[in-house]
Subunit: 549 residues, 2 copies
């Protein structure tokens, strides 16, 4: 593996562990916990692991003799910067417990666990991946660990390798599955602990006890770097509107953080669109209004951030998609026989009046995507819709209407971008390098403490890393019941952007000024070696959320 000069230099970086984890720890148990909602239902589903106490580690003055422990680790779901450091921290942690401890990585996600594909992670391998981005050390995958047969199959390999604890690094769904697995193994006295680690660039796995998921910091910094560069270009050429879609699934955390970092002219927050019951046309009109006001001021350029999940949050489009799914499921054969030129009229004739009107209001290309690009279950593939192009096309149309009414007199040249894959595997920022290493190292302490069904928790993250607190949170504590594919399921509550939270309020306070003036900020690339105020800042989201506490 040929390494870049930066990789070579970064390999030497020693993540700064919280002081409490630098020596032997003692376990301090808090009160028994309850789930965030649906307590009775969750308690019934998790009789073995419900109501466990929060755990906090404190320094212990006397050393303890550790025993060797074999641990398995799984990377689950989409990549996030710092995953390798979780594994490195876990490795160093169990080696510190006892040098004969072993770490096994299951390959390509939970599938490797079920299918018994694994490798031992030796120190030679680990050292190749310190402070690097990506999940390529063992690969990741999206197989869902949900069925007892999978759990039993996995247990075979755990027994074969004498593995006493399994660490699952994943997002909300993967940690939900970790809790179910922990409960199951405890119920059958399998003798295997299960520990989760909060991973996702989307930032939607957080709550009162988990301050942020890892990867969010680095990914938003990479996106902010390129958004800033585009904004500087925009402000130099003064002739384009850049519509920039950002990954992040349903929640708009990434778009909001990037907006706070770069101060674009417009940033749409899906959660606000839903709360205000806005239509697609409302959004388009609000963008066109800003474009027209800037044009009146001689500014025919600007930037618009669009969260990936937007389309699902527009109540009218959500209803349309739901009816389309049902209608096409029921009439799929008939639809398939309709000639392409007739399809639009056919769809309109088969929809309720309200949804037909929404469908008619969509540009032809998007309307076609809604009926043609369907997944194997027959559902619309919302993530494939190029929302950034949809919006710019509709804004253009709206501006022509405004021009005819004498309300707009400018030029509108849109350009489009979508950022996602650029940030998921970036080299972790100092924050993520430290946070991930601490999460992994801390997981080894939870393993040593003998607990199961816990998520590794490192808090106080707005402070320098040496001051961070370490401990564990019972996963059941974060759960509620939600409908998934028609069934009520226990799941970790997904964190959406809170409209009463400080990050959104800060954005709301400033956005009118950012819209009309040009207040772009240019964050530049992530720095690893410079002054602390450049290299060691957490996200503004984290900072503002701490202010709100």
């Amino acid at each position: 593996m040929k390494k870049s000069p930066l990789q070579k230099a970064r390999a030497a970086y020693q993540p700064k562990l919280p002081v409490v984890l630098t020596g032997p720890v003692k376990v301090v148990e808090g009160e028994a916990t309850t789930s965030v909602a649906d307590q009775e239902a969750i308690k019934n589903l998790f009789p073995e692991t419900y109501g466990l106490p929060e755990i906090k580690f404190e320094k212990r003055t006397t050393p303890v003799a550790g025993k060797p422990v074999n641990v398995g680790v799984i990377l689950s779901g989409g990549q996030a910067p710092g995953g390798h450091n979780v594994i490195c921290g876990l490795f160093d942690g169990i080696k510190k417990l006892h040098r004969d401890s072993r770490l096994y990585g299951f390959l390509m996600g939970p599938g490797g666990f079920v299918d018994h594909n694994y490798m031992e992670l030796t120190s030679a391998i680990i050292d190749e991946y310190r402070n690097t981005g990506g999940f390529d050390i063992i690969g990741s995958g999206r197989t869902k660990l949900e069925k007892v047969e999978q759990f039993d199959k996995g247990l075979e390999i755990l027994r074969e390798l004498n593995i006493a604890a399994l660490v699952i690094i994943g997002g909300d769904d993967s940690n939900t599955n970790a809790a179910v697995l922990a409960e199951y193994y405890k119920s059958i006295n399998a003798g295997v602990q299960v520990i989760g680690c909060p991973k996702t660039i989307d930032g939607d796995l957080k709550n009162d006890v988990i301050e942020t998921s890892f990867g969010f910091d680095t990914a938003t910094k990479v996106y902010s770097e390129v958004i800033g560069n585009i904004q500087r270009d925009c402000n130099s050429a003064k002739k384009y509107y850049h519509f920039i879609k950002l990954m992040g699934r349903s929640a708009s955390h990434i778009a909001l953080e990037c907006a706070l970092q770069t101060q674009p002219n417009i940033c749409i927050i899906s959660e606000e669109v839903e709360a205000k019951n806005m239509t697609l046309q409302d959004i388009v009109n609000s963008i066109a209004d800003v474009v027209a006001r800037r044009a009146a001021d001689g500014k025919n350029f600007g930037t618009v951030l669009v969260p990936e999940g937007l389309i699902e949050f527009i109540p009218a489009v959500k209803k349309l998609i739901a009816e389309l799914n049902d209608m096409l499921a029921a009439n799929g054969d008939e639809f398939a026989a309709v000639a392409p030129a007739e399809q639009r009229a056919w769809v309109i004739a088969h929809l309720s009046k309200e949804n037909a009107a929404v469908y008619e209001s969509l540009p032809a290309g998007v309307a076609r995507q809604l009926t043609l690009d369907r997944d194997p279950h027959g559902n619309v593939q919302v993530s494939l819709i190029e929302t950034e192009k949809l919006l710019s096309e509709m804004v253009k149309k709206r501006l022509e209407e405004m021009r005819a009414e004498g309300k707009y007199n400018g030029k509108f040249s849109p350009l489009h971008h979508f950022f996602g894959y650029e940030g998921r595997c970036a080299d972790p920022s100092n924050f993520d390098a430290d946070y991930c290493y601490a999460l992994g190292f801390n997981a080894s302490c939870l393993i040593n403490a003998g607990v199961t069904g816990y998520m590794s928790s490192v808090r106080n993250l707005n402070k320098p890393s040496v001051q961070w607190q370490a401990g564990g949170i019972p996963i059941t504590m974060m759960m509620n019941m939600e409908r998934r594919n028609g069934e009520l399921k226990p799941v970790i509550q997904k964190a959406l952007v809170r409209l009463d939270g400080v990050p959104f309020r800060k954005f709301e306070e400033k956005r009118d000024e950012w819209a009309l003036n040009t207040c772009y900020v240019y964050p530049g690339p992530i720095q690893y070696f410079g002054p602390a105020e450049v290299c060691d800042q957490p996200t503004l989201t984290l900072k503002y959320e701490h202010q709100g506490k």
Copy 2:
């Protein structure tokens, strides 16, 4: 203007000037020069400025008393990282000559010169822009300075402001125009010097005397950062083919440099496509072949770099476009009346047999783009063609044929990216910060030397910046005659990728290995504060070109 922490820290960076420019200089003249081709024609067109000697600056032991000088500066064409530092170096240079010197910036490109829109650049303004990306200090524009009326109009404002020298920061065309302007002003004894500076991220303004244009270093590092990140994602998820189109106009320098930096599975070089007379289908087949061979090895993922200018270099497509332009110009009205569903057949019927066959081989979407998306002159807008999608669509089709023949058994999921605006206004790398500052400072020395029609030249760039050489090159020396819009014009010869050059040969040597194995390199983000081997490396193109000398 709110500044990011990195901007604040970078403002303090003092670019490292070549030693020769740190004190008074003496002018050493070389031999009289000749143009690279068409000597007689160029000489006739530039009687005043042809045949001037190369100039080299050397240290002078005795100080000289400088006089105040008023200088004008123009940013011309597309943005490139470091433009602000050229202006900062120029400002510091003329202030060092005499503290009463003044610098005027013409706004939004050459148009500001012709229309007398300008601002004085004071030290308070200059200090806000040191080591920053973008051209926003005075803006840029694409107005071409070609006509005597423009030159005369500009001269009015130069006289009004008592400006003795004009510095034009631009690419090959802008520097060509600078030479024409210098010749004209000299021929009328206007008493105004004109100096050019070599700017373009595309890397196509270079020759035996200009080692590289500024901005190429930073832009290719930004693209390599995100390509590296995508490759790490690609190698972690192991399920996508990423087709990545890169800016760079006609030449493939950017794609080649990024390939050398990141070692993708495939990189197409337009110049090679043309030299080998490859068809679009040849390119598609070669990609499909790599995809199939990787699939046979269990690898259903990869990366493909595509230079922006590719489509124009495919001889068959070039011919098709030429005929389409002529045919639609002659039959535009008739075509406009053809119903959309009939257009394809109509176009095929109106083309020669050879071009009709090429047209038929194109995917429907691209074929439609070729006939519909035309510029105001009626020409096909090649840059709007989404070559990355065109290629992946055709590769997919080809793979299905191969599957039917039993030659392919894999999965092919393409994703698409286009990078350009992300890099044009990035904060300059240390290399570009130093190089640009030196180019600007050096321009002040050329002004003080009283010359006109020269390009600021800083060489020996593979060495540390203190060892760089400084001087001036007569712009006419880089010229030849080329056909532009049907007329023979004197222009600076554009540098395409040389297939016999060391950069391409290094790529050629390795590409088979990179195609089948996974040899990705992850350069990471530009660093400003770390060890020299991370922060101060020039491009591999520059390094290899020096090896070839």
